[in-house]
């Protein structure tokens, strides 16, 4: 088990380094526009521009810049934001919490709705409930995230007045109030994935011989589905979650715009428009690291739930 965790951890570090490298070179070699000109405005003189460029080290060879970027990264230094004139780590620190809470809350919503619907669909495949769930979840999934967000804001925010339609407040009550609609938007768009994954896995597991054997011992359907089959069927759903985290982070970018939440997603959009390379790099890295961490955690969770996984690659 420990060997397995160490192996996966080493792999995660390599992936994050790869991501840092690819993003760095893409920003420095491929993206058009000059961050220094952008920061100083159109009236700055050539001298001021080249002075600042020298000061920031942008005139050094790219490989040298890459070296100092990696060096800073190892010390936890994400650089300085050109457009906000503050350390990126500090800016990001304030922005990450709302985004992280939004994603976590969204996942809770997705699973709280998706799991029961998945089970309901799998009990009688192609039955009335299954078709109903399929139509409902696909319909919701078919709506663009920003559209779904606007509809929810319209109904629950403006018409019913249950939740505020924009902004973010900290504290437990404030977070709950301001993040419920955004999380519902994010979660609902995911329900179909959770439901479909669980449905197909559960149907397969319910056909397996060990379930037939459990039935032959007179165990109740409740026990068979709720405990014996779910433990097997839920694992691929968790794995999907690892892959979905990237989609979720992408989703927050749009949702934070719709609901005016000062999170990492809206920071990213702003930084791209400003050609604030340091901040873009930092946000990309942090989201990438989040994806890698979550997929690492789901792998570990899978190893805990399914003893056979621990043996993989050991033989």
């Amino acid at each position: 088990m420990i060997a397995y965790v160490v192996r996966r951890l080493a792999l995660s570090v390599v992936v994050v380094w790869g991501l840092a490298t690819v993003t760095f070179f893409m920003l420095h070699l491929l993206v058009p526009g000059d961050p220094v000109r952008r920061a100083l405005g159109p009236r700055a003189s050539e001298e001021t521009i080249s002075n600042l460029r020298h000061q920031l080290g942008f005139d050094r060879p790219v490989l040298e810049q890459y070296g100092s970027f990696l060096g800073g990264l190892l010390h936890g230094d994400l650089g300085t934001s050109l457009s906000l004139s503050a350390p990126v780590s500090q800016i990001l620190g304030d922005r990450i919490l709302p985004s992280a809470l939004l994603i976590a809350y969204g996942l809770v919503v997705a699973f709280a709705i998706g799991l029961p619907l998945g089970i309901l669909s799998a009990i009688r495949p192609n039955g009335t409930a299954d078709h109903g769930v399929r139509i409902g979840t696909t319909f919701v999934f078919g709506m663009p995230v920003f559209w779904l967000g606007l509809i929810l804001a319209l109904v629950f925010g403006l018409k019913l007045g249950w939740f505020p339609v924009s902004g973010y407040r900290s504290g437990v009550g404030g977070t709950f109030k301001t993040l419920t609609l955004p999380a519902l938007t994010l979660g609902l768009s995911l329900v179909v994935i959770v439901t479909r994954t669980l449905r197909s896995n559960l149907i397969n597991v319910l056909k397996s011989e060990y379930i037939e054997a459990a039935r032959s011992r007179g165990l109740s359907e409740r026990r068979i589905i709720g405990k014996l089959a779910m433990r097997n069927a839920i694992m691929p759903t968790f794995t999907i979650l690892g892959a979905l985290i990237g989609y979720l982070i992408g989703g927050t970018v749009v949702i934070e715009q719709v609901y005016q939440i000062p999170g990492a997603g809206s920071l990213l959009v702003r930084s791209i428009l400003q050609r604030d390379f340091q901040t873009v790099l930092a946000v990309t890295l942090i989201s990438g690291a989040a994806v890698v961490t979550v997929s690492f955690l789901t792998d570990v969770l899978q190893a805990v739930l399914d003893p056979r996984v621990r043996l993989e690659g050991k033989s």
């Binding site: 397996s208 011989e209 060990y210 037939e212 054997a213 459990a214 039935r215 032959s216 011992r217 007179g218 165990l219 109740s220 026990r223 014996l228 433990r231 097997n232 739930l305 399914d306 003893p307 056979r308 043996l311």
Partner: protein, 337 residues
């Protein structure tokens, strides 16, 4: 009185208007403590028949006809609650493949205690000690330690032992064993058969042993029913079936059993040519006519039913397996394969 009585059992697939018949008109009785063998090729309906006893015919198949009585109780009329209790207390079932009949993500001990607690209402500690006793009884070495093993950590033979412990956990009076040794190697096979025989004797269980292997059947059973194309074509005491088979299919089946001590070439097994019939609509002729070495025009005149040919010995061949004039003997060793 017999423990289990099946009469006129039919299992069908497909549309009700034009059903495809997989098992038809199967009748069988099992006395308390008796071991009955069900033998036949793949697709002969023997597994479906054994599952029908617990009303566990896999969907979309369905029991279309017949009566099943267990200890005087009408199994076909049981509510789902009664059915669960019937499965929990009265019958146990062992499956062919011990690699897939145990849940891979639960420890073997947990699987046994789960069943004991649900079916017998035992407490945690009591279930644990009973489970360890069961593991010991089925011959698992170091049962306390293997209580915490996962199925994949055990060999095939050990898993099948665990499966036997599970199936007999609530001391059923009747055990269904569907090809219990087919997935195992020969030495393990023998150990498992010995264990089954011991368990049967100790718990005084009746048993229905489904197998395609006549050797296994001969070793274990009191009586045997030979199935072909969804029907029983011959049934009787093992001794009689073995020594004086009456149905041409039984003879062909016996002729295809390899003999381990066969030295000379002439006693090489003779495989039966052709393929067993596929599931289809019922046809008004003998099920075996297409492959029967001694088929004659009369065989297509109608469906054959079991007729008594000896003490508790029945055959569905009215011509008693005697080859027609000029036809080849079904057990002729010189047949070209």
């Amino acid at each position: 009185m017999s423990l289990l009585t099946i009469s006129g059992l039919g299992v069908e697939f497909g549309p009700r208007a034009a059903p495809l018949s997989a098992v038809r008109d199967v009748s069988l009785t099992v006395d308390p403590g008796e071991v009955i063998g069900l033998v036949g090729e793949s697709g002969s309906g023997k597994s479906l028949t054994s599952r029908a006893i617990m009303r566990m015919v896999p969907s979309p198949g369905r029991i279309s006809a017949g009566e099943i009585y267990f200890d005087g109780r009408d199994v076909m009329a049981m509510s789902s609650k009664e059915l669960r209790s019937f499965r929990a207390h009265d019958v146990g079932m062992i499956f062919q493949d011990p690699f897939s009949s145990l849940n891979p993500v639960f420890k073997v001990g947990a699987q046994i205690t789960e069943t004991l607690r649900a079916n017998l209402g035992l407490g945690r500690a009591e279930a644990r000690s009973t489970a360890i006793d069961m593991l010991e009884r089925v011959g698992i070495p170091r049962p306390e330690q293997h209580f915490s093993s996962y199925p994949h950590e055990l060999s095939g033979g050990m898993r099948q032992r665990v499966m036997i412990a599970l199936a007999t956990a609530s001391r059923p009076r009747f055990l269904l064993a569907d090809e219990p040794t087919t997935a195992l190697d020969v030495t393990t096979q023998k150990q498992i058969l010995t264990l089954l025989a011991t368990m049967r004797r100790d718990f005084d269980m009746a048993m229905l042993l489904v197998s395609h292997d006549f050797g296994v059947i001969a070793q274990m059973c009191d009586r045997v029913a030979v199935m072909y194309g969804g029907q029983i074509v011959e049934s009787g005491p093992v001794e009689a079936i073995y020594r004086t088979p009456q149905h041409p299919y039984t003879r062909a089946l016996l002729a295809s059993v390899p003999e381990l001590d066969a030295v000379d070439q002439r006693s090489r097994p003779t495989p039966l040519e052709g393929y067993p019939p596929e599931i289809g609509p019922v046809r008004d002729e003998c099920v075996f006519v297409e492959r029967c070495p001694s088929a004659r025009p009369d065989c297509r005149s109608g469906r054959m039913s079991l007729e008594q040919v000896g003490t508790r010995h029945h055959s569905a061949c009215p011509f008693e397996g005697r080859p027609a004039e000029g036809a080849q003997s079904p057990v002729a060793k010189e047949r070209v394969v």
